[in-house]
């Protein structure tokens, strides 16, 4: 335990160098965790996800995605109701009912075909909707970009989801494994695009995450943030 503290303090020491972004006061520590995640991804997660994609036909992978996505609709509905969006919440639960029954345990997304759209909600967004500020940006080991608020939300998400309560433990762990493998394999393109677009991937990913979360909390139409010098200058062609 003492070593952990020494480790953390030495990481925090890195944070004091240079100018820091007010949204990211723990940049030094975050960058260290980011490097750790990167290494894990380079040597373990991405090769496994690539293999998974080669081994399984896209049809099967999309059944797997649907299966997990269906389970998540339950809590997405709860979050919509907690945010006062009753109609959306009812839609999420209707999706769950149709997909679980007609969609054979969720492997077919019949609800989307019926025109009931999927939503994106979680407890981090609910806390945001209730007025919680994001707090400092943090990079979680293995899970990646988050903020203090969203990390709290993730903890609640994890406990409230059905998955951790599955028994026997071996089945639960296999489901977790499948879930992470499948999720990572869906992000293979996105992560290679990120690598291309960014001068500094850490900053690019951080800003994209913070913008994305803000947009999600307002369901895609956040109030406009005026910036200084926000009018385009077309003097050069």
């Amino acid at each position: 335990m003492r070593w952990l503290w020494i480790f953390l303090v030495s990481l925090a020491g890195c944070a004091t160098t240079g100018e820091t972004d007010p949204r990211d006061p723990w940049e030094g520590m975050n960058r260290a965790v980011y490097r750790f995640n990167d290494g894990f991804d380079d040597y373990i997660a991405r090769p496994l996800a690539t293999g998974y994609r080669k081994a399984l036909h896209v049809e099967i992978r999309s059944r797997v995605s649907n299966f997990f996505s269906n389970i998540q609709d339950l809590m997405i509905g709860v979050n919509n109701v907690l945010q006062g969006k009753l109609q959306e919440g009812v839609e999420d639960w209707a999706r769950f009912v149709f997909n679980t029954t007609l969609g054979l345990g969720g492997i077919h997304d019949v609800a989307s075909d019926m025109g009931i759209e999927k939503h994106n909600e979680d407890f981090g967004q609910t806390f945001g909707r209730w007025g919680a500020a994001p707090g400092p940006y943090v990079i979680l080991p293995f899970l990646g970009s988050s903020t203090l608020r969203d990390a709290g939300g993730t903890v609640v998400d994890l406990y409230a989801a059905p998955l951790p309560h599955v028994r026997p433990i071996a089945l639960r762990n296999s489901l977790y494994g499948l879930y992470f493998l499948n999720t990572r394999s869906e992000l293979l393109e996105a992560s290679s695009i990120l690598e291309q677009a960014a001068l500094d991937r850490y900053i690019f990913q951080r800003d994209a995450y913070l913008q994305r979360r803000r947009s999600l909390i307002y369901d895609g139409s956040p109030p406009r943030e005026r910036e200084v010098n926000d009018t385009p200058d077309s003097s050069v062609k």
Binding site: N66, S192, Q196, Q211, N229
Partner: protein, 205 residues
């Protein structure tokens, strides 16, 4: 002959008028449909010919972007302290980077459908947001918003927001931090180096 000339001039007038009047949402719809149609049909592009994809983007998409605006917005305060020469170099390098990124995003396209939202704007507006949603079964639709401004040469895109993430805003922090540590010339150098390494990587493929 006279009749023919008359017809010809009418045609010119009509086409000039049509070009001037293409509303931003129609423009986005036409360009998207056209480009997606090309990449779906073109076997070479589907099998990963990046150079050809970039050619298509150059020809069909680029004319509708105002890269000087995009670059000035991404530079924020620092744009004012750049010399005309630096502005030009920045704009060129940023354009190359964006085109390559855009090409990778397009190459990942597979069977998504597009939902073109009706434009909510007054006819007198000169700055509008055109909204498109990319629909993929089983997932929440991904909104793509094009911020467009009216110029003498028609409507031009000056920012793209994917899933609520503005490209221009995302580059702003990155650019600012490079400029702070190594100046505007340092940023130009970084962008050019990045572009060169991407070029080498696509050649290898």
């Amino acid at each position: 002959m006279r009749k023919f000339l008359c017809l010809l001039s009418t045609l010119f007038l009509v086409s000039a008028h049509a070009q001037e009047a293409t509303p931003p949402d129609v423009l986005v719809k036409n360009v998207t449909t056209e480009v997606v149609d090309i990449i779906v049909k073109d076997k070479e592009i589907r099998s990963g010919n990046r150079a050809k994809l970039i050619e298509v983007i150059d020809a069909k998409v680029l004319p509708h972007f105002n890269f000087a605006s995009m670059t000035s917005l991404a530079m924020g305060q620092n744009w004012r302290s750049a010399t005309p020469e630096q502005k030009k170099d920045l704009t060129d390098a940023f354009r190359t980077l964006l085109v390559r990124t855009y090409a990778s995003a397009l190459a990942a396209y597979s069977e998504q459908r597009f939902d073109f939202r009706p434009l909510r704007a007054k006819p007198t507006d000169t700055d509008v947001t055109v909204q498109v949603r990319v629909i993929q079964p089983g997932q929440q639709p991904v909104p793509i918003d094009y911020a467009m401004e009216k110029t003498a040469a028609g409507w031009k895109v000056y920012d793209v927001m994917v899933g609520g993430v503005s490209l221009v805003a995302n580059y702003r922090t990155e650019f600012a931090s490079v400029v702070r540590s190594s100046g505007i010339d340092g940023l130009i150098r970084d962008l050019q180096t990045k572009n060169k390494s991407l070029e080498r990587r696509t050649e290898k493929k």
